[in-house]
């Protein structure tokens, strides 16, 4: 699934609902789907707040299913992140109204997260979640022993 939207706050709801509907093809629980919605909402909100400034731009969302795994990549062509490690620190934020919890929530609600960014060229955030009970977080296997999908970027 590919979704491309203007990076506007009004589109955050559409983005998370669309990804959750796509993910529902796997046996995720209701709680899992809520987790996915929060994580996608955080990633897309980050694009809107930080990628383009007043110029505006687009956010691209790529979602795929592989075995028990969902993989979602949220991508922009904006200003990029100069220090990813710093940006992922809890409470670090250039948007005080959001408490700096975007990455914390993404990491907590998903089973894997990968951030890539080139200053001046853009950022991609890849989120992964497995639809299986008893899986190990951070790269565990699904019920069929299948490894998480290889990163696409």
């Amino acid at each position: 699934m590919t979704l491309q939207l203007p990076a506007r706050a009004a589109n955050v709801s559409l983005a998370r609902a669309t990804v959750a509907a796509f993910a529902a093809q796997l046996p995720f629980t209701v709680e899992d789907l809520e987790d996915i919605k929060v994580a996608v909402s955080e990633a897309v909100s980050n694009v809107i707040l930080h990628a383009y400034g007043d110029v505006g731009g687009e956010v691209s969302i790529f979602a795929s299913l592989s075995g028990d795994w969902l993989e979602v990549t949220i991508e922009d062509n904006g200003r990029g992140i100069s220090d990813i490690a710093q940006a992922r620190q809890p409470s670090y934020t250039t948007s005080p109204d959001r408490m700096g919890l975007g990455f914390v929530l993404m990491e907590s609600f998903m089973d894997g997260i990968e951030v890539r960014s080139v200053p001046g060229r853009g950022t991609s955030v890849t989120l992964r979640k497995v639809a299986a009970k008893g899986h190990a977080r951070g790269g565990g296997k699904g019920t069929n022993g299948q490894e998480p999908p290889q990163q696409a970027l």
Binding site: E31, D97, R98
Partner: protein, 137 residues
């Protein structure tokens, strides 16, 4: 979509929120609560989130910002009726350790100090226990 209703009961601004609290809608909550706190002079704030189906960090920021406003004047703030999924976000973020959670609006108002008339004593004790459990969770 976000719908907000508000009323002042004694010294508590009760704000009932319905819909999703995210980057788009959280500013509306922020503006309304700040305005009503200033105009009403209410010291306490109770957010009824029973009809809130989604909350992310933008919503958390709006909630925590209002907590700071209320706490700065010595008031109390509580959240009533949060769903399981909303509670997860509140707890994971640590907001639940700062802002009291109540099962119902009624128990929240009791904690704010508003006394309802005519309630049977037994029912009052049950509501108080529910409020204490919600406060501890």
């Amino acid at each position: 979509m976000l719908q907000i209703e508000h009323q002042v009961l004694d010294n508590t601004l009760v704000v009932t929120v319905a819909g999703e609290l995210d980057l788009e809608t959280a500013p509306r909550l922020r503006v309304l609560v700040d305005s009503e706190l200033a105009h009403s002079g209410a010291r306490n704030l109770l957010l009824d989130l029973a009809a809130v189906s989604f909350l992310d960090s933008s919503g958390l920021g709006a909630i925590l910002g209002r907590y700071r406003t209320v706490a700065a004047t010595g008031g109390k703030m509580g959240i009533a009726g949060a769903t399981t999924s909303v509670k997860r976000v509140l707890r994971l973020s640590g907001v639940a350790q700062i802002v009291s959670l109540f099962n119902t609006r009624e128990t929240g108002l009791r904690s704010m100090g508003r006394q309802r008339r005519g309630r049977p004593a037994k029912r009052s004790r049950q509501a108080a226990v529910s409020g204490v459990i919600s406060n501890v969770c």
